[in-house]
């Protein structure tokens, strides 16, 4: 009886967590270069950056996005949860944004290490990763806020 209750309680808690915090569970860590004074970023700003609507940081430095190849599971999660679009649609939007001359398209990489290295080398860089270990010296994590 006690075991059954525990099982039900655990199931209830797990369901609640999944219902109320789905984005938290699948959320990636956003990283930028340490020279960038930004400490936190809203989800809407993140969306505007990764869809080419915001092209520079407040200090005028050009935003340099680094992203994964379109069939990467991490990219799929990020595009669907944060941008609310499929990776294919995001790539199509970037074709339009770059050909119009508005902004430069993201640097496309295969591995998380490549994201870390790109941001380490580019002061305007921004990207997302899952594994936060072994961050290079010039890379920092920023907090993502709901608004």
């Amino acid at each position: 009886m006690i075991i059954r209750l525990k099982y039900h309680t655990l199931l209830l808690i797990a369901s609640s967590v999944l219902f109320f915090f789905p984005s938290k569970i699948f959320c990636q860590t956003i990283i930028i270069n340490k020279t960038n004074p930004v400490e936190k970023i809203s989800k809407s700003m993140l969306r505007n950056i990764f869809l080419g609507n915001n092209v520079s940081w407040e200090n005028g430095r050009r935003i340099q996005i680094v992203d994964f190849i379109s069939d990467s599971p991490l990219r799929k999660q990020f595009d669907e949860n944060t941008l609310m679009l499929s990776p294919q649609k995001v790539s199509m939007i970037w074709v339009k944004v770059s050909l119009s001359g508005k902004s430069i398209p993201p640097k496309i990489v295969h591995a998380e290490e490549d994201v870390k290295n790109f941001i380490n080398e580019n002061e305007g860089g921004i990207g997302y990763i899952k594994n936060v270990t072994n961050l290079p010296q010039s890379v920092k994590i920023i907090q993502v806020t709901e608004e």
Binding site: S56, E58, G60, L85, S91, V95, L99, E123
Partner: protein, 357 residues
């Protein structure tokens, strides 16, 4: 005298090296990319030629002088693959589509100088980049259009402008609402072959775009363009022409809805001021991320005061995304118009391969 020249040159070089040492020593960041389009067209229109066309290839070069200064060049090879001035039927051309220098101060304040595409409506900035929209061509309001018999087809707005512009984005709230603006002054239409101004009149233009936060993918825009057109839409020299446009777009993973309206005023061949209206709506729905049927209805009212002369175009088509950079698209267009109190029409079939690279 000669020694003085050498001294001045040496001092100039030293000054340049002093003020821009990092820029000269840093690794060059030059990117070359572009787009192209090959198409097939068939029509029952009188005197039309059915066949394939190497429509265009544009090579875009981009170079960052530093983090805030960008140079972009866009060279277009249009309508053919070789230049042969002795060939009288040759219809192609090579031109500088864009060449500008951009300075980014902050998100809300940026500057550009050079030859650029006019920021008008949803399409003018991506006018020729067919890989960035579903239909084979940009909507009719952006194309050359024949307003009067005997007068050559012309655009309502200038596609390109050589001048300066200021533009930027304001983030209105934490929820992500944004306003984008782009204002400029340029030589306007009638520039000489070397790109210099043909008259003392300047064109002014502007675009404001509002992106609300309550629905991702929704945007509203308004655009304005005014100049003294050297050749004039109706053939009137140095005609003062104004254009006002409003546009709407909603786009999510599957649906794309677009609507635009444009009011254009100019002088017609009988020297009467005339207002032309162009409207279109376009609906597209994407299945499985790759297959997008689209439908467009365009209405042109060449003379606001004479509602009998109208021009309508319906087109329906299918866009297949081979990849995010390569598209195969086909469409059928039904054109109907009134001329000399009689109803006329023709049908055009177009198929195109558009690539961005």
């Amino acid at each position: 005298m000669k020694t003085n020249r050498y001294k001045i040159s040496l001092i100039t070089c030293l000054l340049i090296l002093h003020y821009f040492p990092d820029n000269f020593s840093q690794e060059r960041k030059y990117d070359l990319y572009g787009y192209g389009q090959v198409e097939y067209q068939a029509s029952n229109k009188k005197n039309s030629i059915n066949g394939f066309n190497q429509r265009r290839i544009n090579l875009i070069g981009e170079y960052f002088i530093d983090q805030n200064i960008r140079v972009l060049s866009d060279i277009e090879y249009e309508g053919g693959s070789e230049l042969n001035t002795t060939d009288s039927i040759y219809n192609g051309g090579i031109k500088v589509s864009r060449m500008w220098i951009e300075y980014t101060l902050n998100p809300a304040l940026n500057f550009r100088a050079g030859k650029m595409l006019s920021p008008f409506g949803l399409y003018n900035l991506i006018h020729d980049a067919s890989a960035s929209y579903y239909a084979v061509d940009a909507p009719l309001m952006y194309l050359r259009f024949k307003f009067f018999p005997g007068v050559r087809a012309q655009r309502l707005i200038s596609k390109y402008n050589t001048g300066v512009s200021v533009f930027g984005t304001f983030n209105l709230n934490k929820q992500g609402s944004q306003i984008e603006y782009d204002l400029g002054i340029s030589n306007g239409r009638g520039s000489l072959a070397d790109g210099t101004d043909a008259n003392q009149n300047k064109a002014v233009y502007g675009r404001i775009l509002f992106r609300p936060s309550f629905l991702n993918g929704l945007q509203f825009g308004t655009s304005y363009y005014a100049d003294k057109n050297l050749s004039g839409i109706g053939g009137i020299e140095n005609d003062y022409e104004t254009n006002l446009g409003i546009d709407f777009q909603y786009e999510n993973n599957s649906i794309q809805l677009q609507a635009e309206s444009m009011l254009s005023t100019f002088t017609n061949p009988t020297s009467v001021r005339q207002t032309t209206e162009v409207h279109y709506v376009q609906v597209a729905y994407t299945f499985w991320d790759v297959l997008t049927p689209f439908f467009n209805f365009t209405s042109v009212l060449p003379d606001f005061k004479n509602t009998e002369n109208t021009y309508h175009r319906w087109n329906a088509g299918l866009n297949y995304a081979v990849s995010a950079n390569l598209y195969l698209k086909s469409e059928i267009q039904f054109h109907t118009y009134e001329e000399d109190n009689s109803e006329n029409g023709f049908i055009v079939f177009k198929s195109s391969l558009a690539v961005a690279f």
